[in-house]
Subunit: 137 residues, 2 copies
Amino acid sequence: MRLSKTSEYALRILSFMINSDMQVFSAKYLIDTLNVPDKYLRRLMTDLSKNGFIKSLKGRDGGYIFAKNANTIHISQVIDAVEGMDRYEGCIMGFGDCSDSNPCSLHENYAPIKEQLIHFLSTTTISELKSTNVLKF
Amino acid sequence: MRLSKTSEYALRILSFMINSDMQVFSAKYLIDTLNVPDKYLRRLMTDLSKNGFIKSLKGRDGGYIFAKNANTIHISQVIDAVEGMDRYEGCIMGFGDCSDSNPCSLHENYAPIKEQLIHFLSTTTISELKSTNVLKF
DNA sequence: TCAAATTACTATATGGTGGTAGTATATTAA
DNA sequence: TTAATATACTACCACCATATAGTAATTTGA
């Protein structure tokens, strides 16, 4: 589906956090567990903090913790924060002015599929990633 | 939906060609009409030729022409030729081993949407881009 | 035959995403 | 108070997609 790698990382991290019993997650722990590059993960966590999904606890025994209930964090919001949702909402052929009333030649057939995708991303929350029978996060 | 820009260009070009009465299209004509960068379009046309969608006629009055019936060219084939379809077929969170039997936490909900998307791209042909009431290509 | 029109090829530049390195800052247990 | 453990910030690097430039090769009308 081609989310950016950053979006993939963000979703994996939040999915891992919601599926763990722990409350506070140090960057080091997430890096070792999830195989996300060290500094890249740290920067991403700061980004996710600034966007209010998680908050950071500095100093000894610090780490990251959800800043709000995971059932209020929608996948589309996470994607929007780290790479922007625009690209998924636009015309499949890249026309800036493509719409129902001024469609490109693929619009009619593609619109319903895009509609479903956006609906999926904007209604599914991080808490729905909690699963008992899923091995990967 | 975030096809690569190259895929967007390719689809726009083929869509334009199928909607025109002309048979042979010079690079210069396509460049002027479709606002695709000069050398980039030329290289893309060569690429599309090598993949058998169009063929080139060299020399004076040369240009490009469909190499086979447009109803045998599927959108997925064009995408596959210029950027690869892999990215659209993989896991939404980027897990290499995500599958029905070994799903990620989004798999169950995302799989049907991805299925529709792939079905759309692999069953729609260039000839279906022909339209009488569409202004853009 | 030759000049014009055209595509093909090769090399290079640019911009953005992903990734790395080093330093600064904050917190807390001892 | 201080050393250890964290996160935050800033700068830089690498790769790939996109874009540009210049030259070579091919065809054909006159």
